[in-house]
Symmetry: D2
Subunit: 135 residues, 4 copies
């Protein structure tokens, strides 16, 4: 539905050549990552010695929520700030993925969360590459 709705929107402010398919994938990957991180943060907050993982996931959930929302606002599409936010989301997803992956053997929740982080990181990298190619 998101993709269909995006098509109904005024795009006059959108920079020419923006890869809408890559953006759509990044929106969906950030949405999935935000959900995975919110759940993982909840579960890890209740486990011994997992406080860093819980807070890392809370940070990643917040960054992904912000990134997703920014990509859904074509009226304000600004190349430098959007590229810096993609860099920040990539860095945050990487840190959270590494943290969760280190607990993947003992926690299925962490394993799935690491996977969601990796997918969001990759989708944001692809989006960033397409924007660098435009510049």
């Amino acid at each position: 539905m998101t993709a269909e709705m995006m098509k109904s929107m005024p795009m006059a402010e959108m920079p020419m050549g923006m890869d809408m398919m890559a953006m759509q994938e990044a929106i969906e990957a950030c949405s999935a990552c935000m959900q995975a991180c919110t759940m993982c943060s909840d579960a890890m907050g209740g486990m011994e010695d997992m406080g860093t993982c819980a807070s890392m996931c809370a940070n990643c959930a917040d960054m992904c929520t912000t990134m997703m929302r920014v990509m859904m606002r074509p009226m304000a599409m600004d190349m430098p700030s959007m590229m810096a936010m993609l860099e920040a989301t990539i860095a945050m997803c990487k840190a959270c993925m590494d943290e969760c992956m280190s607990h993947a053997e003992m926690s299925e929740t962490c394993r799935m969360c690491a996977q969601a982080c990796e997918m969001a990181m990759n989708a944001c990298m692809k989006m960033l590459s397409s924007m660098k190619a435009m510049a």
Copy 2:
């Protein structure tokens, strides 16, 4: 993926008898509504005389984000506060749906947003009913 991940989580704090299927549907409907409202708010902010619609959608996007996150934290499941939040989400989705519906003929974005609001409202009503039946 959200449903699968939810199954991996510790549920000791979850009140007995919670309708997990209804909750899953409410999470997804709130997620879709948050996305629709974020996009509609962006589009309406740039149209003449649509400021109320833009801000109503911003409010609804925030409430749906919060509602969705709260349902993804089984560790803190608290019946009275969750029921009050469902009431708030229902009221906010209703107000935003009514506002967007009144512009549905001139804006396809508003028409789709009203639809997403209605689905989130209905899913939250169903969840609330199932919780009232537990009490």
Copy 3:
């Protein structure tokens, strides 16, 4: 600064008789509560057997963020949804205050967080009363 900026804003959509002083106090109390809950959630996620408190605080931080933002959007001021959100914030702050208060003797962080929850709860109650008096 928030109060000063609010004065610069167009208020044509604001319902007549809204108690701007009570609203200002509720905005500030929600802002302080969001900060306290974010910090308390972080600290409790790393302590044994405090997972419920950590997630309760995460829920309260999200609800207070949403409530505060909604009060800062006079263009979309809608009485029924705003009153339902005030009820939800009051319920959430009450639940989080009770949880944190039960750990106040062993944690100074929880004691201060409970205080911030109480202040936000009271400020939202005052705002809600003033809105009920208008109706």
Copy 4:
């Protein structure tokens, strides 16, 4: 209160040498900027030809909310992701400041919002410098 509460928190995970005074100032500047941008976005959404400004402010409000929360979670303090987020917040505040400043003569709301963006940008720059000096 935020500063006092921060002192009550476990800081074992906090990297040595972090400038707590600069962080406190950045938290407060991001909080003020988030409030200013939320109000400015609401007001501009209702004005002709101000849609880009409204959405830019919505983006900036979201980024500042995320940045502020991340700084209030010492358990998950991770240098690379926090530095990337500071860069993103600086870029977003800069873009929003420039946009709002261009309307400062006709709107007191925009003028004050530009000021809040500038203060958040400067506070994040100071924090980033202090972190670069640690590395």
